[in-house]
């Protein structure tokens, strides 16, 4: 059975711990298969109903407004007829009716419209600069289709919509340009492949050109969202040159005060920092870290979540990168987040802490000095399970990298009791990590010659009973780890127990005949 030590596996992902320079960080676990619902606080990949900020008054068509629209629901057949007609007016009416169908809340007939072969018509309408209404309606319809599944997006791209939309970005009509921003955001959100197609087609300069002091806030919101999707997704990451192109504008956006812009800009940063140390470095070098730390205390959940995520990513980087974050005051911001009413925020905060605790003793000392241990122990005791799990990692990192004095301090803060209480948790991996932490604490006690004292303390806290119970755990590795602890620290030092020929009653003493030259 491949019972590789799982603790080691994750430990090797923490920076510094694995001693293997190629995999130094704790990668975000979202790369793995998930059983849970997608994170509710995660940003949307694609959006169907967003508000265009820049519609001219007479066409103020918010989705709410749409339901009372004058345009009647037409059947697909009628739409096909209209769109395929030669009359601009009919085409416009057809597009409008299609867009309306596609905007409906439940089961928009994306596939039917595609199967009807209307996409090439829509794409061709995009370039009709002299028919802005038709252009707009076609863009809207395509946007809605692109917001569907990957297959739907693929249909839009394969009908040549990308260059057409990029050209539309430069449209003098703000609402048309904004519609293009939206459509491109949906296409970029589909995944790395289309994201890179867009980047190849020079979408970035075209987008950035629209950022200027008088760009309306609403427009900037959509544009920031699209930029964030261009930063998003791994395997592969967006090309470094593209990132470098976008970063100055993202930094600029991060200094605005609109919460939606801040949120998406932070998400963008969080995607860019969710990579290896070189990726992180590009972001850290912009000097944005202090602003991100500041945003961790933002009143809006939508802003602080991605800001915290970005900081969490950065502290999983090198010691130097982590130090930048510490210098920016992250340790003053974390305690509040560790007690934030929302459990997912607590979890992210403790995750960040666990990565700082994986650093050198100097950084561990800063955790102590800034008073992070009491909230950590508190989360260990009272956090929800996901937070507790991160806290357990934090403690194990702390105890494996900290000095003896630091480990003693942690125990004095009540961590041992909390660890022992968790030993009945229903998760094999967490159990193993807990046993590792206990083992680390014992190793510190060994250096002080106080293992006996610690054994008694563990027993008093009910730990011995629980570790003994783990000796009957179904998971072989957990059982082994528990067994080793018991044997080493709770047994009573059992003593360990040039080939020689033997006859029945004695060994035959003889040295080999061969004369050989010794050399040591």
């Amino acid at each position: 059975m491949p019972t590789k030590n799982v603790t080691e596996e994750r430990l090797s992902k923490f920076k510094n711990k694995g001693k293997d320079p190629t995999k130094l960080r704790d990668k975000r676990i979202t790369e793995c298969v998930e059983l849970r619902k997608a994170h509710k606080d995660e940003n949307f990949l694609k959006r169907r109903h967003i508000t265009l900020s820049s519609l001219p008054d007479e066409e103020a068509l918010s989705p709410d407004y749409l339901s009372n629209d004058l345009v009647k629901f037409l059947s697909i057949e009628e739409i096909i007829k209209l769109v395929n007609s030669d009359s601009r007016e009919s085409q416009t009416r057809g597009c409008q009716a299609a867009r309306k169908l596609l905007s409906q809340e439940r089961n928009p007939p994306l596939k039917e419209i595609i199967d009807a072969g209307l996409l090439s018509r829509f794409v061709s309408f995009l370039s009709m600069d002299d028919e802005p209404t038709l252009q707009f309606e076609a863009a809207w319809a395509l946007t809605n289709i692109a917001s569907g599944t990957s297959w739907h997006t693929q249909q839009v791209v394969e009908h040549g919509a990308v260059p057409a939309f990029i050209s539309l970005l430069a449209s003098p009509m703000l609402h048309i340009s904004e519609q293009a921003v939206w459509a491109l955001g949906n296409i970029a959100g589909d995944g790395s492949a289309y994201r890179d197609v867009l980047i190849e087609c020079n979408v970035i300069p075209a987008l950035l050109a629209r950022i200027c002091p008088d760009t309306p806030v609403g427009y900037l919101r959509n544009l920031t969202w699209t930029l964030s999707n261009l930063c998003r997704n791994k395997n592969p990451f967006p090309p470094l040159s593209a990132v470098l192109q976008m970063l100055p504008s993202l930094i600029q956006l991060l200094h605005l005060s609109d919460k939606d812009i801040l949120s998406d800009a932070c998400w963008a940063i969080s995607y860019l920092t969710d990579g290896d140390n070189d990726r992180i470095d590009v972001v850290v070098k912009t000097g944005i870290v202090p602003r991100l730390v500041e945003l961790m205390s933002h009143a809006e959940l939508g802003v602080l979540t991605p800001a915290l995520r970005s900081i969490g990513n950065i502290v999983s980087g090198s010691d130097l990168q982590t130090q930048t974050v510490i210098d920016a005051g992250v340790l003053n911001a974390l305690p509040k987040l560790m007690r934030y009413p929302k459990a997912s925020v607590q979890k992210e905060a403790v995750w960040a802490l666990s990565n700082i605790a994986a650093g050198p003793c100097k950084q561990i000392q800063q955790l102590i000095t800034c008073g992070l241990l009491p909230p950590l122990v508190d989360r260990l005791k009272n956090g929800d399970f996901k937070t507790q799990r991160e806290a357990v990692w934090a403690v194990t990192n702390f105890t494996s990298g900290g000095t003896v004095e630091q480990v003693v301090h942690l125990v004095q803060c009540g961590a041992l009791e909390a660890i022992i209480n968790l030993l009945q948790v229903k998760d094999a991996k967490v159990l193993l990590v807990l046993l590792d932490a206990i083992n680390n604490i014992f190793m510190a006690a060994e250096k002080l010659g106080e293992t006996d004292k610690l054994s008694l303390l563990v027993e008093e806290l009910g730990g011995l009973d629980r570790i003994e119970m783990l000796q009957s755990h179904d998971n072989e590795t957990v059982y082994q780890a528990a067994h080793k602890l018991i044997e080493k620290y709770f047994g009573d030092g059992e003593l360990d127990g040039v080939k020689v020929e033997a006859s029945d009653d004695a060994f035959v003493f003889q040295s080999p005949d061969v004369t050989r030259t010794f050399s040591f």
Binding site: F385, G462, D474, E501, S511
Partner: protein
């Protein structure tokens, strides 16, 4: 093998023979089946038989054989041949589910096991349609089939409960969820509806309830790793129905059996587990449902009876409440005074009551009772669960809970007072309640170390415990007596000394109680009291304080060993050992009698050693009697030998493996007491100790080496004259030991003793061979441990035989060898030597090399002189660490493992550290200074010039310090 009738017939016959009670018939048949199982179609023949045979016995037998065959052969191990042909594999997978479902239960179980074994290897990749095949059966409407599917699913999915998260595992779970979760949910709902439809049909209900239990188990497995999206979306359905089932009671399903849990209990118990899982891991999502579950589970507890069949359910349910009540955000659910009172009154108190099952165990199964009550193997019991709930509640509500219970304790005690004969169980519960309420932290070594300050332990002791201990009839109310003794024992660190002293004589009388539990507890309590430490690191209870009771203590302890059921009672034997250790000289007058009893006991248990702890303490007690008596009068050792040698001889002759390591230690202890001579009785044994078979058992090695060392120390000369022909055998042992990385240090112990104690002329002929062997080992495996031992030995040799002899023997093995060893081993490694004596040996040896070896001054070795001196100064200036405290009494011999014949070291057979140099050299630094002085006068000018040109400044400074201290000067 063809799939034909003839083969089926043959197989049937052999299967029948495997059931034959006569091994002469059975074994060949089993062999035959094993020999043909590699043939293609063999598994299919078995499947055919289990389906179609007319004989039911053969069908079951074929099913069992099939399952074992799958278990042995299905897994494909890398680099090993595939043991089942691919067509067979395909055919098995195509038919087995159907077969399983259409078979009677006995066969179904075997096939279900086989499916899970196959599934573990093949599912999901190599068995993609298994799940869909199972799911389709849900629609069959036949609950025998459905339960078969559920059981199989359970055995396939239950590993999700303990395996580590991995992408591979989660991909599988995701796949299972995609196909299985919805049909399972539909089945769950449908089954519950059917339960209502068939509410009056007991047979239908039985089947339906086993389905529900299986479904609940599947729920647990599928939800274990993380909360799946599907179950989060369908939480309402599941939790509402779980809650409904928890509150459901159907009279028809109640069983009369008192012991075996019924279907309702099993189901509810699993639902408690499910709720506990969600409460622990998915608190955020489960929060809206939790209060309802708390109420339902609490009501369930209030209405559940005392019968054993409810134990698992009750302890699961209480554990659920215990885990919830200590969470800050659920505090409010328990806070109300009425709620607390009600939980205390209706949940905790009833589950602390002494039940008839406990009473039976107390009387008839005392070992089990003691294990549960004293050693904490009571994890799943109601009492333990209730105790955990008390502790959980005390986290937030210590004051109110203590107050509520005080009321209960008082009323239970007054019930008892009214009619002790009738109501003694009330007092038992009261004591248990006080104990669980008062103890906040506990260890085996010290008992309760932290107590609830709101409970007055001393007052309770005086008013309620002492009267029971004092009661003249020790055999009346044995349970209460045991409770009282246990109270003293576990609260020993909390009670004032005067009360403990008051209790001691009372405990002595309880050693005579008929009840095994009671006299065992008395012995255990005494043993624990005797290990308590007072001020100044002495024992809390002094030998002087015990003086008036010494005789009674020893008498009663030994008499207790004669009580029925306690002939090998480890608690009593441990108390004997501890008493000896405490009383010291005071036992001497009694030893002549006691040693007879102990050796008699030893003779008895050596016939069939079965209680390792008892035996260990027996040997410890023997060693203590020897040591204590011989300390003041060493000549008495012969009387011990007279008493012990017959038993020892018998043990050696019968090769009682468990006892040999002990016997060697006892013999060492005895021999070491002798003046410098070796009695002939020992000499007669000497050749036997060199037998290879003894040295093959690792547990024998340390005590045997020690014994041989004792032989050499006391009779090195005698061996050289009377047993010179045994010297090669002795060296053979050394050779055997240094060949092992684990035992090489033991080989050096032996070699050092040989060098130290044997007359030089008796070993001179072997010395070259000895060094060649050591070099050989150094060449092949240079471990730190070996090097450390090697350095000590080389220097000891030098001290004993002189530096010139050392240099000569090295250089005659190979030219320049001496220089190489100094340069490559001694100089770089000597800093690693640890231990005061070992360092001293090295210091003296190196001093001799530096100052008494002409080759060091006149040959090419001269270049090593300064580096060697520098290394020596380094050795001196390393921080001293090692000293072994002479702390005999408190040496912790708690859970000495004696289950294997691994070496069980006897604490009281301990050996004093031996210093072969002893007083000959007081301070090696002074010796170095003096020796250098001597050397410098022999060749004036050379030493100072070497020092001033090459020795580093720091070392020179240290050296000048030594010279000053020795008041000598170099010339």
């Amino acid at each position: 093998m063809e799939l034909n009738d003839a083969n089926l017939q043959t197989l049937t016959e052999f299967l029948r023979k495997t059931l034959d009670p006569d091994p002469a018939v059975r074994r060949p048949a089993e062999k035959f089946l094993e020999s043909v199982e590699g043939n293609q179609n063999y598994p299919l023949l078995l499947l055919t038989l289990l389906e179609k045979s007319q004989d039911n016995v053969i069908r079951v037998c074929a099913a069992v054989t099939f399952k074992n065959y799958i278990k042995r052969n299905w897994r494909i191990v890398e680099d090993e041949p595939n043991k089942i042909s691919d067509p067979d594999r395909t055919a098995i997978k195509a038919n087995i589910v159907n077969l399983m479902l259409s078979s009677p239960e006995q066969i179904q179980k075997q096939l279900s096991d086989a499916i899970s074994i196959i599934g573990r290897e093949d599912f999901p990749q190599k068995w993609p349609d298994l799940l869909t095949e199972m799911v389709t059966r849900f629609r069959s409407g036949d609950f025998h089939i459905i339960n078969g599917v559920l059981r199989t699913a359970h055995s396939l999915f239950k590993r999700y409960r303990h395996e580590f998260k991995s992408n591979e595992l989660w991909t599988e779970i995701k796949l299972v969820l995609d196909t299985f979760a919805l049909p399972l949910t539909e089945l769950f709902k449908a089954t519950i509806e059917l339960c209502q439809t068939h509410a009056a049909d007991v047979n239908a209900l039985k089947v339906l309830f086993s389905s529900l239990t299986l479904i609940s188990k599947l729920f647990y497995s599928l939800n274990f790793q993380d909360l799946p999206e599907f179950f989060e979306d369908n939480m309402e359905t599941w939790m509402t129905n779980f809650h409904g089932l928890l509150t459901l009671d159907n009279k028809l399903l109640q069983t009369d059996d008192e012991e075996e849990a019924g279907l309702i209990e099993l189901l509810k118990s699993q639902i408690c587990d499910n709720a506990a899982l969600y409460a622990q891991k998915y608190d955020e999502e489960f929060q809206p449902y939790l209060p309802r579950f708390v109420t339902a589970i609490w009501n369930l507890l209030v209405s559940t009876g005392q019968e054993v069949k409810y134990d698992l359910l009750v302890s699961n349910a209480i554990q659920f409440l215990a885990s919830v009540c200590e969470r800050p955000h659920y505090k409010h659910l328990f806070e109300d005074q009425n709620t607390l009172t009600s939980i205390c009154e209706k949940v905790i108190v009833p589950n602390m009551e002494f039940r008839s099952a406990d009473e039976e165990a107390f009387e008839d199964n005392s070992e089990e009772y003691i294990r549960r009550d004293l050693e904490g193997s009571d994890i799943d019991t109601r009492r333990r669960a209730a105790c955990d709930l008390v502790r959980g509640l005390c986290k937030f509500f210590e004051g109110p809970v203590t107050a509520i219970f005080s009321g209960y304790v008082n009323s239970m005690l007054s019930e008892y007072a009214k009619n002790p004969g009738e109501n003694w169980k009330h007092k038992d519960a009261a004591i248990y309640l006080v104990t669980s309420l008062a103890s906040k932290a506990q260890t085996q070594k010290h008992g309760i170390t932290q107590a609830n300050e709101l409970v007055n332990l001393t007052e309770f002791f005086v008013n309620h415990i002492l009267p029971d201990l004092k009661s003249p009839n020790v055999n009346e109310f044995p349970v209460l007596k045991a409770d009282a003794i246990k109270y003293v024992m576990i609260f020993r660190s909390q009670l004032p000394k005067e009360q403990l002293l008051e209790a001691v004589p009372l405990l002595l009388t309880h050693l005579q109680a008929e009840s095994t539990v009671e006299h065992t507890y008395a012995a255990h309590a005494l043993e624990r009291l005797f290990t308590m430490r007072g001020p100044n690191n002495t024992t809390l209870i002094t030998p002087a304080e015990m003086a008036p009771f010494t005789e009674q203590l020893l008498n009663n302890l030994f008499k207790a060993l004669a009580l029925p059921g306690s002939a090998e009672n480890e608690y009593i034997m441990k108390a004997i050992m501890r008493s000896f250790s405490l009383l010291q000289e005071a036992i001497v007058p009694y030893v002549p009698t006691l040693i007879g009893q102990l050796t008699h006991k030893l003779l008895l248990v050596s016939k069939n050693p079965s209680k390792p702890h008892f035996n260990h303490y027996l040997f410890e007690s023997l060693c203590l009697s020897v040591r204590i008596t011989c300390k003041s009068n060493p000549t008495t050792v012969t009387s011990f030998e007279e008493a012990l040698f017959p038993v020892i001889t018998e043990i050696l002759q019968n090769d009682v493996q468990e006892f040999l390591p002990y016997v060697f230690q006892v013999m060492s202890l005895l021999l070491e007491i002798h003046d410098n001579s070796i009695p002939s009785t020992y000499m007669a044994l000497f050749p036997h100790l060199l037998q290879p078979v003894l040295w093959e058992r690792t547990g024998n090695i340390p005590p045997l080496v020690r014994l041989l060392q004792a032989y050499l120390e006391k009779g090195g000369a005698a061996i050289a004259t009377a047993a010179a022909d045994k010297i090669p055998g002795l060296l053979g042992v050394f050779q055997k030991l240094i060949a092992s990385k684990a035992n090489d240090h033991q080989g050096f112990y032996l070699l050092n003793s040989i060098i130290e104690h044997m007359p030089p002329e008796s070993i001179i002929q072997y010395r070259k061979q000895i060094f060649i062997l050591l070099f050989q080992r150094l060449q092949s495996s240079k471990t730190t441990k070996f090097i450390k031992s090697f350095l000590v030995f080389v220097n000891l040799y030098c001290v004993k035989y002189g530096a010139i002899a050392l240099q000569e023997v090295f250089d005659c093995i190979q030219p320049k060898m001496f220089g190489m060893v100094l340069e490559k081993i001694v100089i770089p490694e000597v800093q690693k030597v640890s231990g005061a004596v070992e360092k001293k040996i090295c210091a003296v040896g190196i001093t001799k090399i530096l100052t008494e070896c002409p080759a060091m001054m006149d040959t090419e070795y001269t270049k090593l002189w300064i580096p060697l001196l520098q290394a020596l100064i380094g050795l001196f200036e390393l921080p001293e660490d090692d000293s072994i405290p002479d702390d005999e009494h408190f040496i912790d011999i708690e859970d000495t493992p004696g289950y294997q014949t691994a070496f069980s070291q006897l604490a009281f057979a301990g050996k004093k550290e031996h210093d072969p140099i002893g007083d000959a050299v007081g301070n090696p630094k002074i010796l170095l200074a003096q020796s250098l002085h001597k050397l410098s006068t022999a060749c004036p000018g050379r030493v100072p010039s070497m020092l001033s040109t090459s020795l580093n400044a720091e070392a020179l400074q240290f050296l000048q310090g030594y010279l000053q201290a020795a008041t000598v000067q170099l010339v």
